[in-house]
């Protein structure tokens, strides 16, 4: 499977995702944001980090880059697109995913391992997970507080477009295990065609037992199928 990782100035999880993809046997290429063409890819990853320093709004400026037009085109043609953390923020800024990510409710950068629950495992991104499976996964962000309008929220729920929700270690979903204030404890969402996934947690950080765990592995192996 061919993957492309888009690199913006200020991306800083680009190497991490590349390492994870290669470990999972993807044939990966890095694509610099000034390029005007994407290599042939089955999966495009918009990685985490601080594109353009997160200046103005996180993701806003990357959302206006040249390459992003190609990403939009490919996504509309059905290519799989994964946005992680800053990548998620960028995808919302481009409109590929609806809603927006606001400052964490405690107004602080948060880095810690949290739990998320797999809400929809019937997608190209999540079929190797069990439904309601609880993952332990790392988050690291300033602006992960997902918000959207009531209609879209209804759509997310009714069409099963919520990918992951923050939960406690027993799987309970409530305000006390919501790290950033996201509506409905949302940690990740799909677009309506389910070929685009945006998520705040970092699956690429969870593919190596020495540094964490392997709870992120199945996301990548789902894609390989």
């Amino acid at each position: 499977m061919n993957s492309s990782v888009i690199v913006f100035p200020g991306s800083n999880c680009d190497r991490d995702i590349a390492v994870a993809l290669e470990k999972m046997q993807f044939k990966n290429q890095m694509v610099w944001h000034k390029e005007t063409k994407l290599p042939k890819s089955d999966l495009i990853v918009v990685p985490g980090g601080f594109s353009y320093g997160d200046y103005l709004r996180s993701g806003a400026i990357a959302g206006k880059s040249l390459i992003i037009n190609e990403v939009i085109k490919a996504a509309n043609e059905g290519c799989l697109v994964l946005g992680i953390c800053n990548g998620f923020q960028i995808l919302t800024e481009t409109g590929l995913l609806k809603g927006a990510l606001l400052r964490n409710k405690n107004l602080k950068f948060i880095n810690k391992d949290i739990n998320i629950k797999v809400i929809n495992n019937d997608t190209k991104f999540s079929n190797k997970y069990k439904k309601d499976q609880i993952l332990k996964i790392n988050i690291a962000h300033n602006e992960g507080n997902y918000i959207t309008n009531p209609n879209h929220l209804k759509e997310l729920i009714n069409e099963n477009l919520i990918a992951f929700k923050y939960c406690d270690k027993d799987g309970k979903i409530n305000e006390s295990c919501n790290p950033n204030g996201s509506v409905e404890n949302i940690a990740g969402i799909f677009n309506s065609k389910k070929n685009i996934l945006g998520m705040m947690p970092h699956p690429e950080r969870m593919v190596d037992n020495l540094i964490s765990n392997t709870d992120g592995v199945n996301l990548f192996s789902s894609l390989l199928k």
């Binding site: 353009y52 320093g53 200046y55 103005l56 400026i61 206006k64």
Partner: protein, 96 residues
């Protein structure tokens, strides 16, 4: 009975609300990385006539007070105490 009177009290208080805006900007010679990036981006988007961008913070404050001069002094105090760091920032208060 009591409930109504509280409501009325609230209502009467509302009349005395004064609204101010505060803008906090970086001092002239201080680096403004955000403004710089925004400027470059807008120019790259084809806004050639754009000469410069500086970014700052904006606040809208509502103060309960009957006396505007007094209220303004209070807001000024808030700016000095919290909203601006006078080492690198300037601020401006406006009645709105």
């Amino acid at each position: 009975m009591k409930l109504i009177s509280v409501k009325q009290l609230r209502l009467s208080l509302k009349k005395n609300k004064l609204k101010f805006s505060v803008t906090v900007t970086l001092k002239k010679d201080v680096l403004d990385p955000q403004g710089k990036v925004v400027q470059n981006t807008l120019q790259n988007l084809g806004m050639d006539s754009l000469k410069s961008v500086r970014q700052g913070k904006y606040f809208e404050l509502e103060v309960n007070d009957n006396n505007q001069t007094q209220a303004e002094k209070k807001v000024d105090d808030m700016c000095k105490k919290l909203l601006a760091n006078l080492i690198i920032e300037d601020y401006k208060i406006n009645k709105i």
